[in-house]
């Protein structure tokens, strides 16, 4: 009984002291007392969007882990919250605007969907904040670039250059290519880049089948592909749809009839859902692979194994890196002023999960490796997650004049 009374009294005294202190100290004095810049990061992810919710959840988990583990070593204070864009650009913009207007939000990460990322990029740009995205569409750091927007992953241009071109070199006789493409900004960007590379390398694009974002049944599209008799089936689908289309391609015997390339895979979680048997012999493009021999990657693998009892997936590492870039900017600028942080992030060089990485100052695109991998035979796997072997790592980015970014 006595203990409860004392605790309550102590609690009341502490609360009163905090309240009086808060009232007595002006905001400037309080921030001066807190020497570390305060950087509250908001993750605007597609947490409930069909098809990419799982990817978004992993991205979110990665961002949160970065905030929890990096703030102290970087000498900043940082918090993390999540909002759900639902995969809808309109809803995403509205929720981000609420964060900005009602909670003073300035620092955002997110954009597993390119369409959402493009919309949110514009909204954050209007408010003078910072947005670091994982969206793939070229426009994010190209024609639709913004002073406040940064991107960590390689864009669709680099993904196609890093997969289609090296595969053309490896398989020169495979000249007839058929593509299956989701009908939205990301898919169109992959398709136009693939068509360009095929034309440049003397291959024939024998057909394309567009599919909707809600599609889960691909037998019709695969029948179209079979009818075109291609040497290579090139898949531009994303996340859950990639799994479905690849699974059904194998079911229809396409794996035995032609080479299959997945230009943009979503990482380890996707490979687990596909399984080793399905992946065996399939070519895959990837932003990240946990087996890459780079010092920071080794540390990340250790951290994720310790925290989640599993090596990191691309989505987790991507989320982690988006938050890290904002935090690096604050640490380098020694400020939470977005303008100073942007200046600090432009040209930033650091050791990342793919080796040495840097942010181009003229379009805010991170320069990093993109990997061409091939599925291992199940018997050749060293452990349960050893699905792929790295065939090539490529850094391919549009030159300044071709990138089309004029807003920076």
């Amino acid at each position: 009984m006595t203990r409860i009374a004392l605790s309550r009294r102590t609690l009341l005294r502490s609360a009163a002291a905090v309240s009086i202190g808060s009232l007595a100290s002006p905001a400037i004095l309080r921030s001066a007392l807190a020497a570390e810049p305060d950087v509250p990061i908001c993750g605007a992810w597609e947490m409930t969007a069909p098809g990419i919710a799982n990817t978004a959840a992993l991205c979110d988990r990665g961002s949160r882990l970065a905030v929890e583990t990096l703030a102290k070593p970087l000498g900043i204070t940082c918090s993390y919250s999540t909002i759900d864009t639902e995969g809808d650009p309109g809803k995403g913009v509205r929720k981000v605007a609420e964060q900005i207007n009602q909670r003073g939000g300035k620092f955002f990460v997110g954009g597993a969907s390119s369409a959402v990322a493009l919309a949110v990029s514009k909204e954050v740009s209007k408010s003078g904040g910072i947005y670091v995205t994982t969206g793939g569409a070229d426009e994010l750091t190209g024609t639709e670039c913004a002073k406040s927007t940064f991107r960590w992953p390689v864009a669709t241009y680099g993904a196609v250059e890093g997969t289609v071109r090296p595969l053309r070199e490896r398989l020169p006789a495979a000249k007839r290519w058929f593509t299956i493409t989701p009908k939205y900004v990301f898919g169109d960007a992959l398709l136009s880049n693939t068509q360009r590379v095929l034309a440049e390398t003397g291959a024939e694009h024998v057909g394309n089948a567009y599919h909707g974002l809600a599609e889960r049944e691909f037998s019709g599209y695969l029948t179209d592909a079979l009818a075109a008799k291609p040497d290579v089936l090139c898949l531009h689908s994303f996340s859950g749809q990639t799994i479905d289309v690849l699974r059904q391609a194998a079911e229809f015997g396409l794996k035995d009839k032609m080479t299959i390339l997945v230009v943009w895979s979503a990482g380890l979680d996707q490979y687990r859902a596909m399984g080793a048997e399905l992946l065996d012999g399939v070519y895959v493009g990837a932003q990240y692979w946990h087996g890459v021999d780079a010092p920071v990657n080794r540390e990340l693998v250790t951290l994720f194994r310790k925290t989640f009892n599993s090596p990191p997936t691309y989505s987790e590492v991507s989320g982690y890196m988006l938050a890290r870039l904002i935090m690096e900017g604050a640490a380098k600028a020694k400020s939470n002023d977005p303008a100073k942080m942007i200046a600090a992030m432009e040209g930033l060089r650091y050791e990342g999960p793919t080796g040495s990485e840097e942010i181009r100052p003229f379009d805010h695109q991170c320069i990093k490796d993109y990997y061409l991998l091939r599925g291992k035979a199940p018997k050749a796997m060293a452990d349960a997650d050893d699905f792929l072997e790295v065939l090539a790592s490529i850094r391919a980015f549009q030159d300044r004049d071709k990138a089309g970014c004029t807003a920076i």
Binding site: P50, N54, G212, E215, E217, G220, G240, Q248, E251, A273
Partner: protein, 290 residues
């Protein structure tokens, strides 16, 4: 020609899966006048049941049967414990309660199995392709079509040639008369609800090796089931079969002509039917099941 025939075959395969999902919904509405927004949940749980039982070493077809049994038990508990209490309330309460059940089950699935997609391997004896001249089709999909057809015939025989089936049909046309004849309508409703849930679970279980398993699959199935029911006529067995095949074939053919809009074709067909024959293609004045 080969492309056309292949697409028709794809459409039949797709349509038979749609039929399995939709027929349960149409039976439930036909007899009970109950709009069941939780129907997709049975499809979802059927797929997850197979996933879990397969992972625990069960043979695929044993897992299918086990999963259906578990879903039917769940459906019985749900119907007796929750839904039977709202039968007499306005349709708004039917929609609210069943949609609430859907959200709760989906979140439970995300909690227990995570939001990640999972794969269910094709049963070993049914991998590969069946070929006939220039045509070929995956063995497993042929098995799914065959099972769906057997179910359709068995269901038709049950509804048209058995006493209990006659009672269900009578209940669909004149519920009050059936009640006045001393038939236990509550039991009839429960049987009908559980039968519909079992068919949806069968569809989810069979489709799991084709499209994998993920928490969103229930709502996807529910949407297409409603389209099929509206096109065929709510409460019509024959309507569900014809509409499912129609939608499946139209969708499949559309992939070659308008790929990005193929998934919209089902809704376009529904719009057209609503404009021309709002009660559905096969719903007569008394909503006969045949």
């Amino acid at each position: 020609m080969q492309l056309l025939v292949s697409q028709l075959l794809n459409g039949v395969g797709l349509g038979m899966i749609y039929f399995l999902v939709a027929v349960g919904l149409t039976l439930i509405f036909g007899v009970m006048r109950f709009v069941n927004f939780a129907h997709g949940v049975f499809y979802l749980l059927g797929a997850y049941g197979v996933l879990t039982l397969s992972e625990h070493g069960a043979n695929f077809f044993v897992a299918v049967v086990g999963s259906i049994a578990l879903v039917m038990i769940f459906a019985l508990v749900l119907e007796r414990g929750v839904l039977s209490r709202v039968y007499e309330l306005p349709p708004f309460f039917h929609i609210l309660s069943t949609f609430g059940v859907t959200l709760m089950v989906e979140e439970a699935v995300r909690t227990f199995w995570t939001a990640a997609p999972h794969r269910v391997p094709t049963p070993p004896g049914f991998r590969g392709l069946a070929t006939l001249g220039p045509f070929f089709y995956p063995n497993y999909r042929l098995v799914v079509i065959a099972i769906a057809m057997v179910c359709a015939v068995a269901l038709w025989v049950f509804l048209e040639r058995t006493r209990y089936g006659a009672t269900i049909r009578a209940g669909a046309e004149h519920r009050e008369t059936v009640r006045l004849l001393g038939i236990d309508v509550a039991r009839l409703f429960s049987f009908n609800f559980v039968l519909g849930a079992g068919l949806a679970a069968l569809a989810g279980a069979l489709v799991s090796p084709i499209r994998g398993v993920d928490p969103n699959m229930g709502l996807e199935a529910l949407a297409i089931a409603f389209v099929v029911c509206v096109v065929g006529g709510l409460g019509s067995f024959r309507g569900a079969l014809v509409a499912a095949l129609l939608v499946g074939i139209m969708q499949s053919l559309a992939t070659s002509l308008w790929g990005s809009g193929a998934s919209l074709v089902a809704y376009l067909v529904m719009m057209l039917v609503l404009l021309v024959k709002p009660q559905g293609l096969f719903a007569g004045p008394g909503r006969s099941t045949s």
